[in-house]
Amino acid sequence: MVDLRVKIGDLDLKNPVMTASGTFGYGVEFEDFFDLDRLGGFVVKGTTLNPRQGNPYPRMAETPSGMLNTVGLQNAGVKYFCEHIYPKLVKYQTNVLVNVSGSTAEDYAECAEQINELEYIPGIELNISCPNVKEGGMTFGTSCPSAEAVVRAVRKVYKKHLMVKLSPNVTAIDEIARAVESVGADSVSLINTLLAMAIDAETRKPVLSTITGGLSGPAVKPVALRMVWQVAQAVKIPIVGMGGIMNAADAIEFMLAGASAIQVGTAGFVDPLAPVKIVEGIEDYLVRHKIESVTDLVGSLQL
């Protein structure tokens, strides 16, 4: 028997596989496909202080081995979440995190404060990296001072696990990681989507309503892996890796590069069973390689 349990700071996960915000709805949509309690955890949709209707259609473009999205944080706001969604999530025997976005440090803090009250939400993922809305935090995530400011504001009011999701659209992601670590982040997750664009040559128009959008899927995996590796050299807090993970081998690569856990995003669109297949695949890998605990993989890349 191999041990799949991992810890992300004070969070206990039955296995290192989570699902990524914005790609897993509120979890319930996946219930037909598998038992959500088989996951190490899942992160629900980006939540903001006030309701947001999101960006206009079209919001999606398929690209080579990936896709662009510009959903723009459509959500009914944190109050609605607490009253109407949260009650449906309390039944899950796994870590349910809420992804939090905002336009000002105060927004973030206020939203986080309300989620702090929810007994069965052990942590939040602070999205300082959404490229699709002006107020989506990407500007927070692209400079150290602004990243520090928002994390500091949230840290003051949020008492549970504070995971900060980093933007890949930066010159030095390791510096941003160090900055958020220094002001109290409990972990970092990366990467969010790469700012990108699609054009329809025939119509001569951008494909997305907002011209640019966020690139995800296997296309970004090599960049994401590099960033996880780079951040792993820079910080001591745990890293949650993501970006194009499609199967167990991909997940293991992220752990070798230094991630304590991983998130599966776009893969779930292509194969709704991907998250559980990855749990099983990691187990098989450990058995095959005679590795007792999945934690032995973390950062164990052989140079």
Partner: protein, 259 residues
């Protein structure tokens, strides 16, 4: 039935015309009730430009043979691989997805208006209406560019009266579906209009139905990433804000759309 991911075996693949194929797919597990208007999402691995699945309406279900059919137009890499899939091969399908058309009460007169592969869910609807013995008086208006693009007219004829239009006049009325008298003369004689096809066609039909104050449902085809409500990419504007075509639709009452 619940949404599932299954490998379905191609039982037959019949080429209907230049670019349309009819695929009959057999399920390994007993099919439960599927609603007309629902769709499937198919994975296409044998192509380098099909990262995401491809959605197709369900064209019919044969619960005895445990098969479902898809009516596929070859328009690009994904549909091309599918229309080229030989019998015996398996395809990875997520289904059933979406809502479905609203069944009318007994003894209603309804009009189906289809263009292109939009006839697929309409024909399934007609089939189920007839099977459920709702005694609907079914009329179908089908339009195409030319006679060769008018397919499955016999199937429609099994269920009711068929009207056709072709842009080149090679079959039925010369013009577009919206030029057909069945849509202009006294549309109120129908209790409901159900339409699926190119968006401009649906919008024109919807406008006529709205003007005549007739119940009207349209089946939308927004681009999709997931197909089951988690990505929020396929939204359409409704009177109650953005709704997902893949879960709140693909079938919408025009009353609710901001058309």
């Amino acid at each position: 039935m619940n949404k599932t991911v299954q490998n379905l075996r191609v039982l037959s693949n019949i080429q209907l015309n230049r670019d349309h194929h009819l695929l009959e797919l057999q399920a390994p597990v007993k099919l439960e009730q599927i609603a007309p208007g629902q769709f499937v999402n198919v994975r296409v691995e044998k192509s380098q430009s099909t990262f995401l699945r491809r959605p197709f309406s369900i064209y019919g279900v044969d619960y005895e043979k445990n098969t479902m059919s898809l009516f596929i137009k070859d328009v690009g890499p994904g549909s091309h691989v599918l229309t080229s899939t030989p019998e015996g091969e398996e395809v990875d399908v997520v289904f059933p997805l979406g809502n479905g058309f609203s069944f009318p009460e007994n003894n209603k007169r309804i009009l189906l208006v289809g263009g292109g592969f939009g006839i697929a869910p309409l024909l399934f609807f007609a089939q189920e209406l007839t099977k459920l013995n709702l005694k609907a008086d079914i009329h179908a208006l089908v339009g195409a560019r030319t006679a060769d693009d008018l397919m499955e007219l016999d199937s429609f004829a099994q269920y009711g009266q068929v009207y056709t239009t072709t842009e080149d006049g090679t079959h039925g009325l010369k013009g577009r579906v919206t030029d057909h008298s069945v849509l202009s003369d006294n549309l109120q004689k129908f209790d409901g209009v159900y339409t699926c096809g190119p968006e401009p066609m649906m919008k024109a039909v919807a406008a006529k139905a709205a003007a005549a104050d007739v119940f009207c449902e349209v089946s939308l085809e927004n681009t999709m990433a997931c197909g089951f409500g988690v990505c929020l990419c396929c939204v359409t504007e409704t009177t109650s804000g953005h709704q997902c075509v893949c879960t709140d639709g693909p079938v919408f009452n025009i009353r609710d759309l901001k058309w």
